[in-house]
Symmetry: D2
Subunit: 315 residues, 4 copies
């Protein structure tokens, strides 16, 4: 990740801000505020603003439940209770805003989370940066043979080199032709003064999906956790997981008690179906219990066994 | 509005908080943070938290439009432009949280604005306060004869006294019976130790719609302005307008430039239909233009004329 | 539930409609379309319209996954897979619209589900029906002593009679005074021709929270299932559960395969936290596992044991 | 637009469906149901399903306003009134679902409308079609010099030919390399049996933004009209406008009365600011009124004059 001098100055200016406020603050998050946390080869995540902390969740829950919540002795106990029982509204009382630089094909996954506010860099108005995501060799994997949307073995040797070359060459060539059509380079130089440039809203269509874009993305804590439970998961595409993991770390700094409950109940937790519960109950009670008598489909049986790292897999 | 000693202490504690932050702050809004601003006879509005200020709108707009926005010379010019052209997303980048105490029949209007986060005091858990909204005599109006949902002339004299007495008596009696059914008073005394109390979730159904409830309500600036353009409007019910006007004043303190643009383009502005535009154009050009030739319905014609305070009303 | 003659005629007219369409239809749901299904003492639920069926979920999932979904042999298998893995968007492709008559205090719970479209009867425009919810004796329960928001033992004998009398008397008296203030009865008779009536938007505040209102409520299948998983649950207040159960039955008619998956994975299913999973794993493997060594709080331990109907409760 | 034989068969099958229903139907929309309406060079729009018609809007408005709406004599008058006063909820009672094939850079604009349900073809699971948008020569315009995000003069001659060649060559080369990396062609042939293919979720990043994708997109009528008022507008990018215009035509077939009101009040209408209103009023009253005394900025003055096609432009 390389920042322009202009960006570096902006970040330095923001980080030297020092205001007084009566609002609750999150001291650990303040420490990394505005910082460009690197992701992938050219991307970053910056926390730009936030509202509330763990105490805001407690505060609004106590308004809801009135004197009824007095019985729960601690704030931490209350937050865990809320998380365990999937109470949602108190977690909506905290808000965070990120500035993200990310490849377009990842932005397209990300935007599917609709309950968020977004301002994206517009390639109708302005020329996109000359930066493309090229995967690291250790992430260059073959299509999984077992999972329709996952990755399998690493690709290496000359096949890996060839792929990386194709990606680089195609992205660069297409960007150069983008500039040619615009009749203007990324840093604002007119190429041929005697000609007009193609409208930006048209020229952009020549760019590849690994071009970097950027946006401001703002959401509440509930929806952020929903995002992270999907995108920081091992089934998520590596490239979006790289962002989600950095964000998870900012959540830890921002609302540490909520983070802990999230890890216990969401990230490390699991769901049991009605039939799955019966199987587990039998197993605990030492009754005979196998795939044939479980009422589960083969796929369900295997998923259940692998959740507990049991080896009874059916093929 | 009377606050309990507990509430007064909480507010005093919150107002004496003094934190350092790198986040942008809104100094004028900080001054009234946490304060209970009185509304109606027992209600209040408190600003509990906020995120962003006018500069946050500009910041995110400039990310969207990139170098393209450099041409607009001032932040204020940019905010006006965004408001005029109904750009929406930059105004979503600011967030505010209110603590509101309000009568239930007003809460029911308010909650229809869905793009907000809410935590309401739960009468399943806790006993509601013994407070009811009784209108001031100067707001006691008859049903309008011209507008199906509005107010007409004031009601006064003995009819007004009778109405106010009915409202008071019915609210109080119903509350007393609520306590009787609960077998517990609002301040926690058991009435008859030998009996159980009715479940709170049931007893509450005996309360009148002018009982006060309270909630935390959090929304972004765009949706707040949509709320205010409907609820601070002269067609809104007086009781919700009373809240909206206080909130409009907090917007003025929070984001003064946006406030000004909102007043000019939304509050004081108007819409013209295609046909209405033709009528206005003719009028400007000094052409003959009357109801018969306008193509407007009687109702549309009258609405158009009254928008400009013209007297050509058709009956 | 009593319907007016006007309502009966409207329903009969709607049910005799017979149109041709190329859209997918749900024959079982068609049979009960428009019918007023009774709920509580005066409420009802009517299915007014719907869009899509089980095949619409499959159709949109197959668009997403393209040829990738060909491998899953059956539609039913695909719907189960989507439900199990909490895929959300395919279930949003079906839509349903209900007409509901319900007590106001239940409407206030219901409306907290924001992702729905609502048109409620407006008491600013019109006079509310003279109908109030009075619980059946078998639902008249005391406040639970163990659960802050639940019901405990039944209340009976003279205490029950007294409560029911209070509820009836207060609701009726308040309604009569509502008419008095309006200077108009529910069926449109002016009471005193020499007087004006109080504005409807004001008079309504005298009504009790068990007054019936009605609305059109439209939502997609995903959000309907979220609603039902909370409101058809045993922890939900009985009065809203009564509605949810009727609605669950319309889901069964409408999208039978989805209904079955919902019952297995959501309604009958459960969640395990990270720590809870470890406990269960130990139990299956026959290792010693008790509350002290579990790392769970007392509350969590008890919730876990009771999920499996095990008796190891800690007090 | 070329459809595969498989697609043609699916459409024919759907169009030959003939079900009976008690739901309201829209006969004109039924006629084009499922049909692939061509847009751009390879795109299409298909109406897949719908719920409600003009009468559904009236029905829900009448529930809201109760007997209060009886006074408005006609359904058409009521719909116009609702549109004019920006009533929103009754228009949410109709729903429509489209199947759309569109270039990715347009999909990225489109998805910014968040209040909709979407299922997009997943390039993690499946291989994208080998189709790219190449503009027609008559739409190949230069960047506007006056409008930062618009198009100016046409580009023609050899410069146009060069641009079109670049677009074609780059899209095709990148697609071919996409297949090479996948080690599989678009129609499922393995290229080199001795090698693995790159994971689809990675290979897709090499594609250009004019590649075609497709999705199911479902929304309610209110949000559809908001979409169309922005995207069928002359300021919208031509390529998305091409879709919006086809959709506008389906709205005309579906809900003709609403369509008419929309054209009059939204599409052909305009907004006046508070200051703008004063200017217009003066003009009507024949008072002197020029830019200097108007209180408007230069930009606002020009926008106002051009709304009425007046020539008093300030530079």
């Amino acid at each position: 990740m390389k920042l322009t001098n202009e960006q570096k100055k902006e970040i330095k200016d923001q980080q030297s801000q020092n205001f007084k406020t009566k609002r609750v603050t999150s001291p650990e998050l303040e420490k990394v505020l505005y910082e460009a946390l690197p992701v992938l080869d050219h991307g970053f995540i910056r926390v730009i603003d936030y509202m509330g902390d763990d105490s805001s969740i407690v505060q609004s829950a106590r308004v809801s439940y009135g004197k009824g919540t007095k019985k729960v002795s601690t704030d931490s106990g209350l937050i865990k209770y809320l998380m365990r029982h999937r109470h949602s509204t108190p977690f909506e009382m905290c808000e965070i805003k990120y500035h993200v630089k990310l490849p377009i094909f990842i932005a397209r996954q990300w935007i599917r989370h609709r309950t968020a506010n977004v301002n994206e860099y517009s390639a109708r108005y302005s020329i996109l940066d000359k930066e493309f995501y090229i995967p690291d060799k250790k992430n260059l994997a073959a299509q999984s043979t077992s999972n329709r949307q996952g990755r399998g073995n690493l690709i290496n040797g000359s096949q890996a080199d060839n792929i990386l070359n194709l990606l680089k060459e195609d992205a660069e060539r297409n960007y150069n032709n983008y500039e040619k059509m615009l009749n203007e380079t990324f840093d604002g130089k007119i190429i041929d003064e005697s000609k007009q440039g193609l409208a930006r809203e048209l020229a952009r269509m020549n760019l590849t999906l690994n071009s970097y874009t950027q946006w401001y993305w703002k959401t509440d804590l509930l929806n952020l956790l929903n995002f992270l439970s999907l995108r920081a998961d091992s089934h998520a595409q590596y490239e979006i997981r790289a962002y989600a993991e950095i964000m998870l770390n900012t959540v830890k700094k921002w609302v540490p008690t909520t983070y802990e409950a999230f890890i216990d109940y969401r990230v490390g937790g699991m769901e049991l179906s009605s039939k799955g519960k019966k199987v587990i109950k039998k197993m605990i009670q030492g009754e005979k219990c196998d795939y044939e008598s479980s009422g589960l489909s083969k796929r369900e049986w295997n998923e259940l066994m692998s959740s507990f790292d049991f080896s009874e897999k059916i093929v």
